[in-house]
């Protein structure tokens, strides 16, 4: 006989979450459709997508690192580097006009460097704890993979500045598209690894927590395949999966908002729960990587013409 265990998940919860995510995805689609076609001289479509991706990544890192480093009390001065550097990268992506091209390149190269250095700082923090490279440290010490998002933001920013000089064509587009795809694949897989670790820490208590460890690797596969042989069908599949990943990133924020609610005191206790619950700004970094990936796909498309 099956034990009649009282229902673990309230139906209302499931319904609300579903509603929220559908709403978000639909909203995102609507917004992107209604946006008037921007015919700015500096921006090819690929450049625009890559820059949007960079902006989302930088924004995600800015919010996430500010929150997490605040939680850590900024006890080490270098902890200010992450928010400052990602903040500058965000400005360079959102308002490129505010900086010279040189400055933008410097800022984004700085983000790449800060991200790489971040890995080392976090590694040092891990190694100093009892247990060193144990699961316990991987779960709760400074996250080893997180600074990678800043590196990605910087790379995407650099790529965007590169592309704004004009859309490459032919063989050059193919080369650029392949480099972009490579970055996308690395970004998707790295982000997935980070999510897998944290969702494992959360014991995948909600089945939806499997989505971001399944979908992005599929997208990465499709992107890699399309970069290898950019034919129509492969590019189409890559685009579909990248769009799905982008939407999932936004839906993820809604799920995390639901996660906040499931902590003691829920949203009424937001000052505590925004820090301890799943991070709201984290999932959109998938959207950022996916957008940059769409830019790369566009370049590959261009090369086919």
């Amino acid at each position: 006989m099956r034990p009649r265990v009282p229902s673990e998940r309230s139906r209302r919860a499931v319904a609300l979450t579903a509603l929220a995510s559908v709403g978000l995805v639909a909203g995102a689609a609507w917004v992107s459709r209604r946006r008037p076609p921007r015919r700015r001289p500096e921006g090819s479509r690929a450049a625009r997508q890559v820059r949007q991706g960079a902006a989302l990544l930088a924004g995600s890192v800015l919010a996430d690192s500010t929150m997490e480093h605040y939680r850590g009390g900024f006890h080490n001065r270098t902890m200010f580097v992450a928010p400052v550097s990602s903040g500058l990268a965000l400005v360079s992506a959102l308002a490129p006009g505010m900086m010279t091209r040189r400055a933008r390149q410097a800022v984004n190269a700085g983000a790449v460097g800060a991200g790489l250095a971040g890995h080392l700082f976090h590694l040092r923090n891990v190694l100093r704890r009892p247990g060193a490279l144990s699961w316990e440290s991987m779960f709760y010490a400074a996250p080893l993979g997180a600074p990678g998002a800043m590196t990605l933001a910087g790379l995407a920013g650099l790529a965007a500045t590169r592309l704004e000089t004009g859309q490459p064509r032919g063989a050059e587009a193919l080369r650029a598209g392949r480099i972009g795809s490579l970055g996308t694949v690395a970004g998707l897989l790295g982000t997935t690894a980070e999510v897998a670790l944290l969702h494992f820490r959360g014991a995948f208590h909600n089945p939806m927590m499997f989505a971001p460890v399944i979908l992005p690797p599929l997208a990465a596969l499709a992107v890699a395949d399309a970069a290898r042989r950019p034919d129509r069908a492969r590019l189409r599949l890559a685009r579909i999966l990248l769009r799905a990943t982008a939407a999932m990133g936004l839906a993820g924020a809604a799920f995390h908002a639901w996660g906040v609610h499931r902590n003691m005191g829920g949203w009424r206790n937001w000052r505590q729960n925004l820090q301890v619950a799943p991070p709201l700004p984290a999932p959109p970094s998938f959207t950022g990587v996916a957008l940059a990936g769409l830019g790369a796909a566009h370049l590959l498309e261009e090369a086919r013409r």
Binding site: S7, R9, P130, A203, H205, M264, V276
Partner: protein, 549 residues
């Protein structure tokens, strides 16, 4: 509900919804005259699991508890004295060479039993301990195969969503804990540093509090009030796991119902329970009785239930009821750290080393586990007054260092000894029931464990950088009193928890444990109860619930 007399809540077809502040869930109700399949005495680690298992197997079940039915969100205060309401503080006489302290350190009284205020440490027995006598040469064997127990551990660990390390360093491979370990607090990291310095293993302690949301229960908020009752429901006690399950499956729970005596007929079979509820004496008829009142109240109830066929108390033909009562050595070493530790943050024991449970090169039998500590202020002050005689300015000075303190404590195995026992005294309590007398004395091996552990913990603490070390002694937990065994001559119940001399009487709590092991007992009690539940179901399916005939 404040101090004073709480009111009966589980009645008239409804019981408190423990996940709400004032809600209810429907409850099946039985009349006193109705012959229910099972009447269970006690709803703690043993009784609570049994109520769920039997109800889920389709039996009609009424479970009695002397304590109130709390809703943690509304009833639990963050105040140590207020929460004394969770403990069994009725009068008990404690004597012997080493009289044990009773109450807050070993007995609860509430629906959910002692798990409502337990510290959530959820460790398994070492497999060899089930054959302590034949494999390790001390104590007694359990009449149960360790693999059967380990399957039952899997089951209860999942029911409690234990948060444990990804890989547990000691013992045979086990499946993954249902939830991941919590972040070890600073106090736990002191243990970790000490262990690493001395070259022994350590692990985040498997504990029964959520590290991720579960249904309507939020994850732990690390405020550290666990021992006085968790007010968030993050703690997975019997009250918010098995009790809701039991109710959903059709069990009735009667709170504030003190069972005084089990009635037996001329053939010696149990026929019902005399209990006190709502200011009056009542009688519940039943086909089977399960007793789960823990190591003092279970023997007390049996001894107080003499009948025509049980002259010296129920199931006491061989005079074994109440004997072989065990505690755990709970000695500790404390010290001051240079860094701020704030050990009250988080569950009290977040790191553990079972090194001396699995290492056999030592000069004593049995073993002990060491855990990091985080006592609340009143608790800690009380232990310093009791152990060190600290008082006045001295106590104040010591308490001023509270946020820099760290400590290690053991759960050390005590050998079963027939002279350590529960008997009935001539005094009576407010209901006119005989007050239990608890006689206890440590044996030489028990003392050796304490000495060894205090020495080892001092080394660990020093290695972790602590200064101004001092030691305290004490006991925790209760086990035994109605041991489970191989024959009517050596035990009160058989491997199925069934009394040798009364075939419709079962015991499934801590009192049936033949040995205490070097780990906290509740997980073992729950697993054993789940196992007995399965056995009862199997016996019923074969039509063997009545042994005679």
């Amino acid at each position: 509900m404040t101090r004073g007399i709480p009111d009966v809540r589980a009645t008239e077809g409804r019981a408190p919804d423990v996940f709400s502040r004032d809600g209810w869930v429907p409850m099946r109700s039985h009349r006193d005259g109705e012959d229910v399949d099972f009447a269970i005495v006690g709803t703690g680690a043993g009784g609570g699991v049994m109520a769920a298992k039997l109800a889920e197997a389709g039996f009609s079940v009424v479970a009695f508890d002397a304590g109130p039915f709390f809703r943690p969100l509304a009833d639990f205060a963050s105040e140590e004295r207020e929460q004394d309401k969770l403990y069994w503080t009725d009068e008990r006489i404690s004597d012997g060479r080493d009289p044990i302290e009773l109450g807050s350190n070993n007995s609860g009284r509430a629906v959910g039993g002692s798990t409502v205020h337990f510290q959530m440490v959820a460790l398994r027995f070492r497999p060899e301990w089930f054959l302590a006598r034949s494999a390790l040469g001390y104590g007694r064997d359990w009449p149960v195969d360790w693999r059967e127990m380990w399957r039952a551990y899997d089951e209860v660990e999942d029911a409690l969503k234990i948060a444990g390390p990804v890989r547990y360093p000691w013992g045979p491979r086990r499946g993954r804990y249902p939830y991941r370990p919590h972040e070890v607090n600073a106090s736990g990291l002191v243990l970790a540093r000490g262990a690493e310095a001395l070259g022994v293993g350590w692990a985040p302690c498997p504990i029964a509090t959520l590290s991720a949301p579960r249904g309507r229960a939020p994850p732990c908020v690390y405020r550290g009030f666990c021992k006085i009752g968790c007010s968030t429901n993050a703690k997975q006690s019997i009250l918010n796991t098995y009790i809701p399950r039991a109710l959903a499956a059709g069990a009735e729970v009667r709170d504030l119902a003190m069972v005084a005596r089990i009635e037996t007929d001329a053939s010696g079979r149990a026929t019902g329970l005399h209990y006190h509820r709502g200011g009056e004496w009542r009688f519940q008829q039943t086909r089977n009785v399960v007793v789960a009142g823990y190591s003092i109240e279970t023997p007390r109830l049996l001894l107080n239930s003499a009948g025509p066929a049980h002259r010296h108390g129920l199931a006491n033909a061989e005079g074994l009821v109440g004997r072989e009562l065990m505690v755990h050595v709970n000695d500790a070493v404390w010290g001051t750290m240079e860094d701020e530790i704030r050990w009250y943050k988080g569950p009290p024991s977040m790191a553990v080393t079972e090194h001396w449970n699995y290492e056999d090169r030592k000069d004593f039998h049995g073993g002990y586990a060491i855990m990091s500590q985080g006592p609340l202020p009143t608790d800690f002050a009380t232990s310093m007054v009791g152990n060190l005689g600290a008082f006045g300015m001295d106590l104040r000075r010591r308490m001023a260092g509270y946020n820099h303190m760290a400590g290690l404590k053991i759960v050390g195995e005590v050998m079963p000894d027939p002279e350590n026992r529960v008997t009935l005294s001539d005094e009576t309590d407010a209901l006119g029931l005989p007050v239990p007398r608890i006689t206890f004395g440590y044996g030489e091996n028990d003392r050796a464990i304490g000495r060894h552990a205090r020495g080892f913990m001092s080394e660990m603490l020093r290695a972790a950088g602590a200064t101004d070390l001092f030691e305290t002694t004490g006991t925790a937990h209760l086990m035994g009193g109605c041991p489970m065994g191989f024959s009517p001559q050596d035990s009160v119940v058989d491997a199925d928890g069934r009394a040798w001399s009364c075939d419709n009487l079962w015991i499934c709590d801590g009192s049936v444990m033949p040995t205490g092991g070097g780990v906290n007992p509740s997980l073992t009690i729950m697993a054993n109860s789940a196992r007995i539940g399965h056995r009862i179901r199997a016996l019923a399916a074969r039509g063997e619930l009545a042994r005679a005939a």
